[in-house]
């Protein structure tokens, strides 16, 4: 009886003191693309920060909005920061949560997983489940993912004059390689 009572306690204590195994990256690539009838906009950043705690299957990703380069003109970049993303007020976008599947990180291989968490863009949180490819290489974890973001979900209005030049659905792709910290 007493022993049984103690099992969850011991388990909890053990798990909470397990040294977290954290993999991180500072230079992941994020690309986004807007395919509107009259204009195609492309931009990317190489400053995606990410961290995964293998012991708990937790993850967190962050990106500086101002680090996006590309666009069709410098003015467009300025408007992206000033008018659409308001990147002074909301300097970062983030995604953090838990990986639904449990992965055996000790064996090499490719896995398709679902990452469930809070996606914050333009200060608006969205609960999202995002499908990703994970490759365990032995000394690193590679992640690639393609998903889309609706501007309307994140309170980013499209002015009527640019309706044909800016898509509501923004296609995002992510590529990063995390190493043990």
């Amino acid at each position: 009886m007493k022993l049984i009572q103690f099992i969850p306690v011991v388990w909890l204590i053990c798990t909470s003191f397990v040294q977290p195994v954290i993999y991180t990256s500072n230079n992941g690539v994020v690309n986004f693309r807007s395919e509107a009838p009259f204009e195609l906009i492309n931009a990317s950043s190489k400053e995606l920060k990410g961290a995964i705690d293998l012991s708990k299957n937790n993850f967190a990703f962050r990106i500086r909005i101002r680090s996006f380069e590309g666009f069709n003109s410098p003015l467009q970049k300025e408007h992206f920061n000033e008018n659409y993303m308001q990147s002074e007020q909301f300097p970062e976008a983030s995604f953090s949560g838990k990986i639904i599947e449990t992965i055996d990180y000790s064996s090499k291989g490719k896995y398709t997983i679902r990452a469930k968490g809070k996606l914050t863009i333009h200060g608006v949180d969205q609960e999202r489940i995002i499908k990703s490819e994970i490759e365990v290489t032995g000394n690193s974890i590679r992640i690639s993912s393609n998903f889309s973001i609706m501007l309307s979900d994140h309170n980013i209005p499209i002015p009527r004059v640019v309706k044909e030049k800016l898509a509501n659905e923004i296609l995002v792709s992510i590529n990063t390689e995390l190493f043990a910290k």
Binding site: K49, G50, D53, N72, S73, Q89, V161
Partner: protein, 302 residues
């Protein structure tokens, strides 16, 4: 027994909290990392003003390299002309101009105004940028130099006339600071030089101090104010100081500037030192600038 149960419960909740705390850490960790990186980077302040002009005069902003900006500006007559003059709209003067961004710090532009059949040419060089992070710089600095030529027929063709007599110059230092996301101010000490003045008693050099600012009302719309104070000792008699109030409205690749001013000219010489109207007498003119940017040279991809 009860004590033990209590003990277990406490430990359980403690370890639960501990796990919770660790969950948040991942996000915090990245945030700390970002902060550390920011300290080693210079973050330049961008978009102090929406466009390269405040209202009549220059703002601290430069065009990006490879960009051409077509500017069409109109100034109508004074509003106090009444319904007969359709509140000034019967009387339009305009300036057409092309600005070019050469390097990130250098731009130049040319223009032609109907007012006094005037050509103008300017260069603007931004040599200090407001920044935070690794280098903390509270202000941005730029110099602007313009040369203007009036091409009206000589008033007295019988006396010897030289081309140099048609020229005037303006030199300006622009000191600007973006105070917050929506508020920016700038100060513009200016020297205007006339090669030839109308009356012998008029000064050849006019010294003025300009002050201007903008306040955003929405991300796309801002209110601008611009005022040039002429030092009384260096002022052409019977001229007023130029005061302008306007809106910047941004739509896609265009910036519209709508404003009210007591100045009719659109070049430094004409609005700083030759403003005749006074706000107090209702000598207010409506005007607008339309700007359309074109990318003429794409920056090389890295």
């Amino acid at each position: 027994m009860l004590q033990r149960k209590l003990f277990i419960a406490v430990i359980c909740s403690c370890s639960y909290l501990f796990i919770q705390a660790q969950d948040i850490d991942l996000n915090k960790m990245l945030e700390e990392e970002q902060k550390k990186e920011d300290k080693d980077k210079i973050k330049y302040t961008e978009a102090t003003f929406k466009t390269t002009r405040l209202i009549n005069g220059h703002s601290i902003e430069n065009l990006a390299p490879g960009i051409m900006d077509l500017k069409i500006s109109h100034r109508f007559g004074t509003v106090n002309g009444g319904a007969y003059e359709f509140f000034g709209l019967d009387n339009a003067s305009m300036r057409m101009g092309l600005d070019f961004g050469i390097t990130p710090h250098l731009m130049l532009g040319v223009g032609r105004s109907t007012y006094q059949k005037q050509y103008d040419l300017f260069v603007k060089y931004k040599f200090l940028r407001q920044s935070t992070g690794k280098r903390n710089m509270p202000i941005s600095l730029a110099v602007m130099s313009a040369v203007m030529a009036t091409t009206l027929k000589w008033t007295d063709p019988n006396r010897p006339n030289y081309f140099s007599s048609r020229l005037q110059y303006a030199h300006q230092l622009i000191v600007a600071r973006k105070l917050s996301e929506s508020t920016s101010i700038q100060i513009m000490p200016t020297l205007v030089h006339y090669n030839l003045v109308t009356n012998a008693a008029d000064p050849n050099d006019i010294i003025a101090i300009g002050i201007g600012g903008r306040q955003k009302i929405t991300p796309r719309v801002s209110i601008n104010i611009e005022y040039y104070y002429q030092l009384p000792a260096y002022q052409i008699p019977n001229t007023a100081n130029s005061l302008s109030v306007g809106f910047d409205i941004e739509t896609g690749g265009h910036v519209f500037q709508l404003h009210f001013s007591n100045s009719r000219g659109m070049t430094e010489r004409t609005f700083i030192s030759e403003t005749a109207g006074k706000w107090s007498k209702g000598d207010i003119l409506f005007g607008f600038n339309i700007s359309r940017v074109f990318t003429i040279k794409k920056p090389r991809k890295k």
